[in-house]
């Protein structure tokens, strides 16, 4: 009987809770959420009133941008809002919070189909295609060539989409992200191995490291992350950079012998024990942990982790070693970033000139922010470069002069389905129970059904 009354009390309590929750459920912004930021629109329009343009009439602009990302919110609060009125006195800008990820994509796709697109918005590879198909994205090339903004980019080619148009402006921080092999100098010394310059040496030193009880190399393998994001691309381009460049631009397929060798190299790596057991289910965090705690001697990872890893003085990096004389790490490199990620202008805006200026201002705000964090960027701000860590300096010195920069396959060649299938196939390859031939056959079929290039 006692327990019964307790349960009844629980039930009553539950009802009370429901009533109180119903009140709060309508209120979508809760103050304890980190992703929420005060709506910027009110503040910025107010600022604008103080500095009215000479003719008294301001052009209204509507902007939708990501509001769930910590970096983005910092940029909005510290770099956009304080400066926009002075920089663009003739505009009255209304910022609309777009959320992020799936929400952002759905929001823009919905606005697009109802013909209610904003003048400027954050563009992403995930929803670029439907927007472009309906003429909602402006090719910025003539505008930014004319006003010289294009010249501010260290790697202007990185802005170009496969059809040679420029659809988005970004700070270019992404273009400095490339996969490298981080390693612990002391662990290499202890095992008596040197930095490998060829693929075969890489296998050899891994065997030595393993025989000394160390895990030779780790990388996130769960859900095929490593293979899709960089490993397949690296393993192809260390044998034949041209074949990889062709694959990214859809000029070749998985019948190409050089492309096929890429998958075979991954199979070799797994079979020769370069990675630990269970690599196919290893998450990003644990992979990082295995390296930073010195259980693994090498970490195959993008340079976005470089500032963190540089804090440990034993960490150094080397580029992926070569598997044929067609590849030289000083000549070819993969870069992250997609030319369609960044601020885009609505193709149907009434004031394209002003909208482009606004997009340029926003991209520059991004650049100023990333520069202040010490990250290298492609869009030059004209400021003095910050002090860099020796490892970052080493990276920039190696990376900047490389003439042949190949865009990332994962961001620039795959529609949603192909992308998911590449993950699946890549993870299969990491199990060591899946032959490279099967991988290539499966990939060829998937590649044939890829709709990315049907534009």
């Amino acid at each position: 009987m006692k327990t019964k009354s307790k349960a009844a009390a629980m039930f009553l309590m539950a009802n009370i809770l429901l009533v109180s929750s119903a009140c709060s459920s309508g209120n979508e912004t809760k103050s304890n959420q980190p992703s929420d930021n005060p709506s910027p629109s009110a503040a910025s329009t107010e600022d604008n009133k103080e500095t009215a343009a000479p003719d008294g009439k301001k052009i209204k602009m509507r902007v939708i941008t990501i509001t769930t990302d910590e970096n983005r919110n910092n940029i909005m609060e510290k770099f956009i809002k304080p400066n926009i009125a002075a920089a663009l006195p003739n505009l009255e800008v209304e910022f609309e919070p777009g959320g992020g990820g799936e929400d952002m994509a759905n929001k823009l796709k919905t606005l697009n189909s109802s013909g209610d697109m904003p003048d400027v918005f954050w563009n992403d590879a995930g929803y670029f295609t439907p927007l472009k198909n309906t003429g909602s994205i402006l090719d910025l090339t003539p505008y930014i060539s004319k006003d010289g903004f294009l010249d501010k980019y260290a790697v202007p080619d990185a802005l170009k989409h496969v059809d040679n148009g420029i659809y988005s402006l970004s700070s270019g921080a992404d273009t400095y992200f490339t996969p490298v092999i981080f390693y612990h100098k002391d662990m290499f010394e202890e095992a008596g191995v040197k930095v490998p310059t060829t693929f075969d040496e890489l296998i050899q030193i891994s065997k030595t490291l393993k025989s000394k009880g160390m895990v030779p190399a780790v990388t996130p393998g769960k859900d095929g992350w490593g293979p899709k994001i960089f490993m397949l691309q690296q393993m192809i381009q260390i044998g034949d950079p041209q074949a990889m460049a062709d694959l990214v631009s859809n000029k070749t397929d998985f019948n190409n012998p050089s492309v096929k060798e890429g998958a075979a190299r991954i199979e070799t790596l797994v079979k020769e024990g370069v990675f630990p057991d269970g690599i196919a289910n290893l998450d990003y965090g644990p992979a990082m942990e295995m390296f930073t705690s010195k259980k693994a001697a090498m970490l195959w990872m993008f340079t976005w982790e470089l500032p963190n890893l540089a804090k440990d003085e034993t960490v150094d990096f080397f580029p992926f070693p070569s598997a044929s004389d067609k590849y030289d790490p000083a000549q070819t490199v993969q870069f992250w970033g997609s030319p369609v990620n960044g601020y885009a202008v609505n193709g149907k805006t009434e004031h394209p000139e002003e909208a482009v200026k606004l997009a340029e201002f926003l991209a520059m705000a991004d650049a100023l922010y990333f520069e202040s964090t010490g990250a290298p960027i492609s869009l030059q701000t004209g400021n003095q470069a910050n002090d860099r860590s020796p490892l970052m300096q080493k990276f920039v010195d190696w990376y900047n002069p490389i003439p042949n920069k190949i865009a990332s396959f994962a961001l620039n060649s795959l529609d949603a389905r192909t992308s998911a299938e590449v993950s699946t196939q890549g993870a299969n390859l990491l199990t060591g129970e899946y032959a490279a031939e099967d991988f290539n056959a499966a990939m060829n079929k998937i590649w044939g059904e890829n709709t990315w290039f049907n534009k």
Binding site: T3, K4, K6, A7, A8, M10, F11, M13, A14, N15, L17, L18, S21, A22, S25, G26, E28, K30, N32, Q33, S35, E102, D103, D283, Y284, G285, P286, M288, E289, S293
Partner: protein
Amino acid sequence: MKVLNRVFWVAVGCTFLFPLYWMLTMSLKSKSEAYDNPFGIPSSLDWLNFSEALSKYHFYTYFENSLIYTAGTIAITLATGSMLAYCLSRMQWKFNSAVLFYVSMGLIVPIEVVVIPLFQLVKALHIKNSYFGLILPYSGFAIASCVLMLYAFLRSLPKELEEAACIDGANVYQTYIRIIFPIVMPALVTQCVLIFIRIWNEFPLAFIIASKDQFRPLTVGLLGFFVNVGVTDWGLIGASMLLSSLPMIIVYLVGNEKIENALTAGAILK
């Protein structure tokens, strides 16, 4: 022989409790100890993991959400379900048996297979970013077993009580609230427990529909935490798991017998 038998079964019983031990010890280990000594007894008591988990992991938000989803589903399902069960068992309606059959179909279709249209429906109804986005689908799916169980319970009850109420001049609504509701209370408590266990631990639908952090229940929030924040730090993982399980463990230890009876009542009634 008998001792050996007993030892064997105690060992089996302990395997069921091992995770509790593991969560507890893990949550008291530092990051490096968790790797070096993953299954042993911690060398020292380190309560830092709990404070860190509480600051990094939005435990209170997720906990509150889980409570709201569970309580909301229980309230809506029991209120509407008991009314329908009352109607079917006491009122003369030519569709009685048809409705019973219709409702019992709900037992066969698992909620997982209609996630896609449910997702679209919830979006179309503009309740995706509110608590009703999960409460209403949960209730819809919980109604079938609730109605069938209460129907069986009500049918086994004598009608004298209501007849007395009827003579007193109470109308059908008053009778329902004053007479029937208290009588079916034991069955309602049973359903309450069943729905609680089901919804508190529900994962697939919440994973898709509650995509915004502020609406995530514990199950989904915990996975997000593992993936984004604490995945390398097993001490932190242990602390967050223990925190998330604690409400359920307390409810279970307090209402242990009730829950067992409730869970098994379904088997007898059908």
